[in-house]
């Protein structure tokens, strides 16, 4: 049942004939996990909260000044706070009628199942491929639908995955890319509103799905090129031999070994993050690209070693892809920084 206040708050969307009172009641009963509270996750959760959807907000990172250009839930005073808490606080100010759960947690094989449990839908706001294959594994295993959405530069992509019904992430992209062969936002840059567009579309599609109206993005992948102001759609279909949604082999969820190893370097207050294979990076080229990022100061660059100051942290990148991050307080922070420099 909707309260008087809720009837008033949501009156404009209740009047919208496709949603109505029934749709609003459905939104009130629903809960969405927003996995990753970057540019995409902020925009998505803002509209979901405003529309009256209960949320679980998940992120392991802290707000940084360079996030504010695109991560619209945060203000200057949030810098240094955990994103999940800052986002919850920001959204509570906009809608106190919904339940918001903040989870400061790394999404990995041991936490994944709990993070998508008891929700109707997951919205993808992650920033790396490993997390997306893991998200696909856990959602297919538990039968939870999710949106896959991502943005970089002025480009974005979005599709809806309903396990057993639509193509899953593995059907569309059977294998992960080689580590290190992908650029990160830190290297390639991102136009602030690009992830916002993707996040807002995720919110639109979530509201339609949860309230039960409109057609949706099943088996359709939307590709945005905002530089050209173009929206394209391609059809994506199930792979009848898919290892994930047909054979139900959840290799990302079940594997013990991730694509990287982390070691604490004694006495140095440093962590070493190593990919499991030798990446043979072209450091000269890499250095040129990353030096365009104003957060990064290249201190020394050769074919074998690249020394950077990244957000004030000393970072050493080796040709093999091994990265040492100095003066970080935790393994998670080191991995987070290393992953943003090299797309593990």
């Amino acid at each position: 049942m909707l309260s008087e206040k809720e009837l008033s708050r949501y009156s404009r969307q209740i009047v919208f004939p496709f949603l109505g009172k029934k749709g609003q009641e459905r939104l009130k009963e629903s809960k969405v996990s927003v996995l990753g509270l970057g540019g995409v996750g902020c925009a998505a959760s803002l509209y979901l909260a405003a529309a009256g959807v209960n949320l679980r907000l998940i992120d392991r990172d802290l707000v940084e000044l360079n996030n504010l250009q695109r991560q619209i839930l945060y203000s200057e005073e949030d810098v240094g706070k955990p994103k999940a808490l800052a986002a919850k606080q920001s959204l509570e100010g906009k809608n106190s009628d919904i339940e918001i759960e903040a989870v400061i947690e790394d999404f990995n094989p041991s936490t994944a199942e709990n993070l998508v449990r008891d929700v109707d839908l997951v919205v993808d706001g992650t920033d790396n491929f490993e997390a997306r294959y893991l998200l696909n594994d856990v959602c297919v295993k538990q039968g939870v639908p999710f949106f896959y959405g991502a943005a970089i530069g002025a480009k974005g992509v979005l599709t809806f995955i309903s396990p057993g019904e639509t193509a899953c992430f593995t059907c569309i992209f059977p294998n992960p890319p080689k580590p290190g062969s992908i650029e990160t936002c830190e290297v390639a840059g991102v136009m602030g509103p690009s992830p916002g567009v993707v996040g807002v579309l995720e919110a639109v599609e979530s509201i339609k799905y949860l309230a039960g109206f409109g057609s949706n993005l099943k088996n359709r992948l939307i590709y945005l090129d905002l530089l050209e102001a173009s929206f394209d759609e391609i059809r994506v279909l199930r792979n009848k031999n898919c290892r994930t949604c047909v054979k139900r082999e959840f290799i990302f969820l079940e594997r013990r070994e991730k694509g990287k190893y982390v070691t604490s370097l004694c006495g140095l207050n440093a962590y070493q993050v190593s990919p499991t294979i030798n990446l043979k990076l072209n450091l000269a080229d890499f250095s040129k690209k990353i030096s365009r990022n104003p957060d990064v100061r290249v201190q020394e660059a050769s074919n074998e070693i690249l020394k950077l100051l990244f957000e004030g942290k000393e970072v050493v990148v080796f040709k093999s892809g091994r990265i040492i991050v100095k003066n970080v307080g935790s393994e998670e922070r080191a991995v987070s920084i290393a992953s943003r420099i090299i797309g593990f």
Binding site: K155, V157, F173, P174, T184, V236
Partner: protein
């Protein structure tokens, strides 16, 4: 002869200058034949599509190919035969925060 459509996204569109092109191929042609045909006179496109491993020409890790919406992995790979009206989508690597693995080694 059969006519197929090639639908491009991202960098492929930038290089080819077209969203969609129609290509006429001998009957029985496969995806590999199509890729060679469209990149024959376009060096930049050729480099986006192919790479050489031990002097053997193979697909670059910078391309993903769907035929009528299905990854060619689910079909016969680059030997997938094309028929009249097929739509072949060429998808580039979009990277970064995106990390979307739209590309991979075959």
């Amino acid at each position: 002869m059969v006519k197929v459509k090639v639908f491009t996204l991202g960098e492929f569109r930038e290089i080819m200058g077209e969203k969609e092109i129609e290509v006429e191929l001998p009957s029985g042609s496969d995806v590999f034949y199509l890729l060679k045909a469209i990149s024959e006179e376009n060096d930049e496109l050729f480099k986006m599509i192919f790479e050489f491993k031990e002097e053997e020409k193979c697909l670059s890790s910078r391309i993903r190919i769907l035929v009528n919406g299905r990854t060619i992995h689910a079909l016969e790979g680059i030997k997938t035969k094309l028929k009249e009206g097929d739509v072949v989508s060429l998808i580039p690597p979009i990277s970064g925060g995106l990390h979307i693995s739209l590309f991979n080694s075959f």
